[in-house]
């Protein structure tokens, strides 16, 4: 199908994106930076086109539905959200330093998709609902925000270690934003992701209520999404009320993303339950 060919191309485009951002960072080349941004932007346009083509192709097959229904489609969409959120961040911050730390997530997600079945399957009755759109959209935007937050946390810890070892005069880490700025960015990305995750969980509960008569069944997926919510709630309280900053906050942000990964993949592959769609 055309859409799978386009998506495979995007995998390599995002890899290129990551490489350009790394080169930009390593050699401080403004030109490289501009190339990286434009390349990423146009790759994202291609990515969007691929998703729309897949949507259209599903209708051609007579089983039309929004491409958010299986693992392949969710990974492609997750990658799309990360690239989108990163580009928005870059535009707002007027800084490209995070590219090398955010784009790998976009690349890995869409590359992993290539390892799963790309068939377009018709929607089983449980998935035939408008709640699908709201729930999947908000959940993945939240996951993407948390992915970027994790990327920034890694950047933070790397720079912190370099500084602790002895001065940051020269070297790669000197070009990163200041530790305080990074810390503030981690907070901001979580402040965006947390309400989105809440809406994701609530729309999921509303949908479950229409489909199965129960808005919360302590199903492993539901429970782990709540665990993820607890971790980020903990982060926000620790930061806003107890003034946690720095290393502890960054580590907590990474723990939160580990919870996101378990909620997304771990539950499907290691546990069992009603939620085994994507």
């Amino acid at each position: 199908m055309i859409n799978t060919k386009l998506i495979t191309a995007v995998i390599f485009l995002y890899l290129g994106s990551f490489i350009f951002y790394v080169v930009f960072l390593a050699f401080r080349s403004e030109r490289m930076g501009k190339l990286a941004t434009y390349w990423t932007f146009f790759s994202w346009i291609g990515h969007t086109t691929a998703i729309l083509v897949r949507w259209w192709e599903s209708y051609q097959l007579g089983i039309g539905h929004v491409p958010l229904a299986n693992l392949y489609e969710s990974l492609v969409f997750f990658s799309w959200c990360i690239a989108l959120l990163y580009l928005l961040w870059e535009w707002r911050l007027k800084s490209r330093v995070l590219g090398a730390f955010a784009m790998p997530f976009a690349f890995l997600s869409i590359a992993y998709a290539a390892l799963t079945s790309d068939r377009i399957d018709p929607l089983i009755p449980a998935l035939q609902s408008n709640w699908l759109h709201a729930h999947v959209l908000t959940c993945f935007l939240a996951y993407a925000s948390f992915a970027i937050s994790c990327g920034i946390s890694v950047t933070y810890l790397w720079k912190l270690r370099k500084e602790e070892k002895g001065g940051q005069a020269e070297g790669l880490t000197a070009r990163f934003p200041s530790l305080d700025a990074l810390d503030a960015m981690i907070y901001k990305t979580i402040a965006i992701g947390f309400p989105l995750l809440t809406v994701g969980i609530v729309t999921g509960a509303a949908w479950a209520n229409y489909a199965w008569g129960s808005y919360w069944s302590w199903d492993p997926k539901e429970t782990w999404s709540l665990v993820t919510w607890f971790v980020y709630a903990l982060y926000l309280h620790a930061r806003l009320v107890r003034e946690w900053r720095g290393k502890r906050a960054a580590v907590l942000s990474i723990v939160g993303f580990a919870a996101v990964l378990f909620t997304y993949f771990g539950v499907n592959f290691l546990l069992s339950g009603l939620h085994s769609y994507a």
Partner: protein, 456 residues
């Protein structure tokens, strides 16, 4: 006689309950407890558990409540203490900031002025009176009508916006309590169960989940028809139960129940959950007369005498079996032909060739078997669900207030001088300081522009 507890014990209990540290501890414990409920399979039968765990492990897990974590006493106790902690923390903080919100300080003394961020001071040539009225206009446009106080040669202004955003946090906390309250109401006054109804049958009571009790509905549900359709690849496309609600002997309404489209009547909701084949009602057979080669179709209801037109022979289908001796769906038939003893044989849906081997005037093949379905409906009643949704909406509103609004306050002090007015502006914002800085810049700019325009 029990003594009145000392203020000391009460105080330290209240202090611990109102501590954030406790709340953080609880968040961690709740997270770990919830994880345990996903890693240890929940609510299985003892046999299933003994396949995974040793007998002693199983016993320990069962006694400690790990086999039904989310309904266990300790989990509920955790949630209860957490709720109490949340309530006490929130009330304590609300009490502390309330006076500050209700009666803001309009005029600041010098030490407080120096503490303000975004402070700026400049001189304008306009007189105090003009400066004052212009400043009032500018503040009204940006932050809202300011409060003014006057001294001999000074004017003080105070304007604020977004005070409500400070209550956002309390909205979020209250919403959590609402959600828990809604869940409690649901578990105390609601129920969950299921019922299987065969096509054409009526049910007026349901089996409660996890209990051996039956709950009467107060009305009856009749399944008129169940339809299932499949995609070409074999996966299910749609399950639809067309039901009628019968109340007091009268049919009150008729609706279709599909997945994601439940039916609610009198607070009780019915969800399409499963289905099965209860039996076969009738079959359509092709009858081929061997001599002439002519074929025709006959519809034969199970157990009823079906004529083979124009022959005097008739057939009765006595039984349907989903899988007869590994050969698949089959119908047992007795053929009555005039002047011959009744013949008893089986017709297989998937193996018409076996009929060819049976001698006789007629050869039969199965054209269509119409199953009689039963529909499995999940039935629930949850009076607390709207409390939960209210809590969710409140949480969204709370988040909006917490993350997207901020409480901004601006103080202005105008002092009349010989050749004009000394203007001092200062402000505080509890969030998003950069945007606030720009806002104060704008106030300064607009003030200067308006003043210069006002001059003839």
């Amino acid at each position: 006689m029990a003594e009145k507890p000392e203020g000391g014990i009460f105080r330290s209990l209240a202090d611990s309950l109102s501590s954030l540290k406790l709340a953080i501890t609880f968040l961690i414990i709740l997270a770990v407890a919830s994880i345990s409920g996903t890693v240890i399979p929940q609510n299985l039968s003892p046999e299933e558990y003994l396949r995974i765990y040793s007998v002693s492990t199983y016993r320990i897990l069962r006694i400690l409540g790990f086999l039904d974590v989310f309904r266990s006493g300790w989990f509920i106790a955790l949630l209860s203490i957490f709720s109490l902690n949340l309530m006490v923390c929130s009330l304590k903080r609300l009490r502390a900031i309330w006076p500050f919100l209700a009666r803001p300080e309009r005029v600041l003394d010098d030490p407080k002025w120096t503490a303000l961020a975004n402070r700026r001071q400049f001189h304008v040539s306009a007189a105090l009176h003009d400066s004052s009225s212009t400043m009032e206009k500018v503040l009204s446009k940006t932050l809202g009508r300011p409060k003014r106080s006057e001294e001999s040669s000074r004017r003080h202004f105070f304007a604020e916006k977004g005070k409500l955003s400070r209550l956002g946090v309390y909205g979020v906390h209250l919403s959590i309590l609402l959600i828990l309250a809604g869940a409690l109401i649901g578990s105390l006054y609601g129920f969950r169960g299921y019922v299987n109804i065969e096509e054409g049958q009526m049910a007026d009571r349901i089996v409660l989940q996890g209990k051996r009790r039956v709950e009467p509905l107060g009305f009856a549900v009749r399944l008129n028809q169940f339809q299932v359709s499949f995609y070409p690849n074999g996966s299910p496309k749609e399950f639809k139960s067309t039901v009628s609600i019968v109340n007091g002997g009268r049919e009150v309404l008729q609706e279709a129940i599909r997945v994601n489209h439940p039916l609610t009547y009198r607070g009780i909701s019915f969800y399409q959950s499963s289905y099965g084949v209860a039996g076969v009602d009738r079959a359509v057979l092709t009858v081929k007369e061997r001599n002439s080669g002519k074929t025709l179709s006959v519809t034969s209801p199970i157990g009823e005498r079906t004529e083979i037109p124009g022959s005097g022979s008739f057939l009765i289908l006595t039984r349907f079996q989903e899988d007869f001796q590994g050969l698949g769906p089959a119908l047992q038939a007795i053929l009555f032909e005039p002047n011959r003893p009744p013949e008893n044989f089986w017709v297989f849906e998937n193996h018409p060739e076996l009929e060819e081997k049976r001698p006789g005037r007629y050869q039969f093949a199965v054209q269509e078997i119409t199953p009689r379905y039963y529909s499995g409906l999940q039935v629930t009643k949850d009076p607390g669900v709207w409390v939960v949704w209210t809590g969710c909406f409140l949480m969204m509103a709370g988040f909006f207030m917490v993350f997207f609004l901020s409480h901004r306050r601006v103080w202005v002090r105008l002092t009349g001088e010989e050749r004009g007015t000394r203007v001092e502006i200062g402000g505080l914002s509890h969030r998003n300081r950069l945007a606030f800085e720009k806002e104060v810049d704008k106030i300064e700019e607009t003030f200067k522009v308006m003043l210069s325009q006002g001059k003839p």
